[in-house]
Symmetry: C2
Subunit: 113 residues, 2 copies
DNA sequence: AATCAGTACTATGCAATACAAAGTACTGGA
DNA sequence: TCCAGTACTTTGTATTGCATAGTACTGATT
């Protein structure tokens, strides 16, 4: 068994590509800052780390799907609260559709064995 | 909207990571050579191209999850038929479980919006 | 006032993989 | 012999999750 093909790696590779969808989904309900988002994902058994999340949020913000505002915190430094733009909401609708098509396709194939 | 965040790219990124699972699933039913695999996936609305498939099959073979045999063809050059190893079957079971956990997590998050 | 722990954000290098593209090789038919 | 169709191999590129290193802010403690 080579280092490349092992369960952990494959699980990680499976996470690639879906985090945009997942993050946008979390923010569709409520504005949130990073620790909120991480906690929300963790509740759903999806572990995402800050080294992933920050660049992702920045990318989505730069792409026009998110906006943010600073908010003072009584528990530490200021927090950056992210929110979906209208464009972000539209994009999320398309992503949800894509996800559904993908899972149907995969389930169809994997159920055949 | 930057080049990085567009639907096509995101759809492609969503495919990353699941193709191992999908290919092993196809081969769990029957030995197959590449065009068979591509056709099977296409039937399920999953388009995969040869530049992706060949290196992937090689990787899985090198990792001990697949074996292959050559078979003469009356329609052209010989074909390389791949089959799951015992190890491949075990790995597939784990992948299926992982996929289910992932979809449950994602659906849970996306259904909340 | 200075220090520290906890909290929050930023940046970067690495590993892995889907894909486009280029190329090699085999077979039967023209 | 040449060609089209078929099958396989290789490689470079773009993208992204993660580990890691670092910066910055705040309130509490010394």
């Amino acid at each position: 068994m080579s280092t490349q093909v092992n369960l952990e790696n494959t699980q990680q590779q499976m996470r690639k590509g879906i985090l945009e969808f997942v993050i946008l989904s979390v923010l569709a309900r409520n504005d949130a800052y990073t620790s909120d988002i991480i906690a929300e994902l963790k509740k759903a058994q999806l572990i995402v780390v800050e080294g992933t999340l920050y660049p992702l949020l920045t990318r989505l913000k730069n792409g026009g799907l998110l906006t943010y505002r600073w908010e003072e915190s009584t528990q530490g430094p200021p927090r950056k609260y992210y929110a979906l733009t209208e464009e972000g909401r539209n994009f999320l609708v398309a992503l949800k559709s894509t996800w559904e098509e993908l899972t149907i396709a995969v389930d169809h194939i994997s159920k055949n064995n």
